[in-house]
């Protein structure tokens, strides 16, 4: 076991230990990878009922300017996404890009009145904060929110739980946010998540986080879920993991994330790396992110080479493992554009053997968001 003395802890650390979690280092934090139920059971519980995740290691920021539009315009210089058109309470997925069009981090933005709220990945939160501080223009300011925990409740019964404790949440739809009082605790919740299921991500003061988590865990549908199942759930949902599926060396165009970049931004540019992305939209890209279904039972993990029938390397798996909802292995990765069509066959080079696989449409498990 590794010494975990230098690792940071979230406000829920003691609760995780009390619940019997296996704690592992993740992005500088000591985090629960699974509870006694185990990854498979936790995964299936989330797909069947409601799972509670501690995602307090992620970075929460508040960005303010002279008004919302000024703050959003300042952020848009660093992100290719359209945040200016958000109406109050609306949420949108986005990313920071670099000069080469590569992705520095992916993130969620919510318009909270005149404030722009942002949630970023744990491993990137320090560089993201520095990037924002150095580059926000026109008097816009960023403030980190280390005094707030972030909890996600996900699954087909998540909404029933939250509506029971905060009836006004019933009118929220997918990718919207609102200040709520949940079981008497002031929170800011968005109807979003990282599992493909309906659910909420809820920002709550550290001082009330344990009480809040216990209140949710007291509901019959809810069980605690660790980072292990979080990863298998997001992979089945076809969602990217920053640092694996998207990095500084992959662009949103290659990653198949152009859907997150509105027409106005594509035409106008005005963000870091715009010229690279505009050239890729015009001329195409050499590689594309695809879903791959291995034919056998052996999982093809990240960094598995993808080859064609003649043994020539055509790409690499960036996330791969076992999909508990499907009962078989699943993977995503990048392949040469000419080999990216759905239905195409590839070979996955696992431990020196070529295992056949097929390029498939993602998600592997249909999304069940509450859109209307």
């Amino acid at each position: 076991m590794e010494a975990s003395g230098s690792l940071k802890r979230t406000a829920l650390y003691d609760l995780h230990v009390e619940l019997g979690a296996k704690m592992v280092p993740f992005a500088g934090y000591d985090m629960p990878v699974n509870y006694p139920q185990g990854i498979l059971g936790e995964h299936q519980h989330t797909r069947a009922a409601a799972g509670l995740f501690d995602v307090s290691h992620m970075g929460q920021f508040r960005i303010t300017g002279s008004n919302y539009d000024a703050a959003a315009a300042a952020v848009e210089r660093l992100c290719p996404n359209d945040f200016r058109s958000l109406t109050p309470g609306q949420q949108r997925y986005g990313f920071f890009t670099n000069e080469r069009g590569g992705i520095l981090d992916d993130l969620m933005v919510t318009r909270d009145g005149e404030v722009l709220r942002m949630v970023v990945n744990a491993a990137c939160k320090e560089p993201d904060l520095d990037h924002l501080k150095a580059n926000l223009k026109d008097g816009s300011k960023v403030e980190a929110l280390p005094d707030f925990a972030l909890l996600a409740i996900q699954g087909p019964k998540a909404a029933a739980v939250i509506v029971r404790l905060a009836p006004e949440s019933a009118k929220m739809t997918f990718m919207t946010g609102a200040a709520l009082k949940i079981a008497g605790i002031d929170c800011y919740a968005t109807r979003s998540g990282y599992t493909g299921e309906d659910g909420f991500e809820i920002s709550v003061p550290n001082a009330r986080a344990v009480e809040f988590a216990r209140r949710l865990l007291a509901e019959p549908e809810v069980k605690p879920i660790g980072l292990g199942a979080r990863d298998s759930l997001r992979l089945e949902a076809g969602l990217c993991l920053y640092g694996s599926d998207i990095t500084e060396r992959t662009t949103p165009v290659e990653a198949g994330l152009s859907w997150a970049i509105a027409e106005r931004r594509r035409k106008e540019g005005g963000f870091i790396g715009a010229a690279v992305l505009q050239k890729q939209w015009a001329d195409g890209v050499a590689k594309k992110r695809v879903g791959i279904l291995p034919e056998g039972k052996a999982p093809a993990r990240a960094h598995t080479e993808i080859a064609d029938d003649s043994g020539r390397e055509i790409g690499e798996v960036t996330s791969g493992g076992f999909g508990p909802s499907l009962g078989k292995p699943i993977a995503m990765g990048y392949v040469a554009t000419g080999r990216a069509a759905v239905g195409g066959t590839v070979n996955l080079m696992v431990r020196g053997k070529a295992l056949p696989g097929r390029v498939v449409k993602m998600p592997f498990v249909p999304h069940r968001y509450h859109r209307t």
Binding site: G38, H43, F322
Partner: protein
């Protein structure tokens, strides 16, 4: 009755005459979590003590299983291919990986007995 011996890598070996049955320990299966795939050696293959013999994969990761003792593979537990979770349910019994024809009984000498292995696992916490 034959004694069971363990390795520091958490494999077990049970010798009966010149046949050695090998698998992974309850401690190993618990550390791995839910086993979803097992890759077994081919029958007839000669494995060397301490070298890779099989692969066991949990939801999270793939791990190598090393041969606790050298020998020729006589039989593999092909039931694990369809039901890999057997390794979690009965690591010391139905979750066995392979039977080997013992090459050199003296290789057993460096392995831990039940009591030594228990003390070793306790020291890992």
């Amino acid at each position: 009755m034959s004694a069971i011996r363990y390795t520091k890598e958490h494999e077990w070996v049970k010798v009966d005459g010149d046949t050695a049955t090998v698998g992974i320990s309850p401690y190993a299966q618990e550390q791995l979590g839910d086993v979803v795939f097992v890759e077994l050696p081919e029958v007839g293959k000669k494995v060397e003590k301490g070298k890779e013999m099989a692969v066991v994969e949990s939801v999270k990761a793939a791990s190598e299983v090393y041969a606790p003792i050298g020998g020729e593979v006589l039989e593999v537990n092909s039931a694990l291919t369809e039901a890999p979770a057997t390794v979690n349910e009965d690591a010391m019994g139905k979750g066995w990986f392979a039977k080997l024809k013992l090459a050199n009984k003296a290789e057993l000498d460096g392995l831990m007995d039940e009591a030594a292995y228990k003390a070793y696992c306790d020291s890992l916490h």
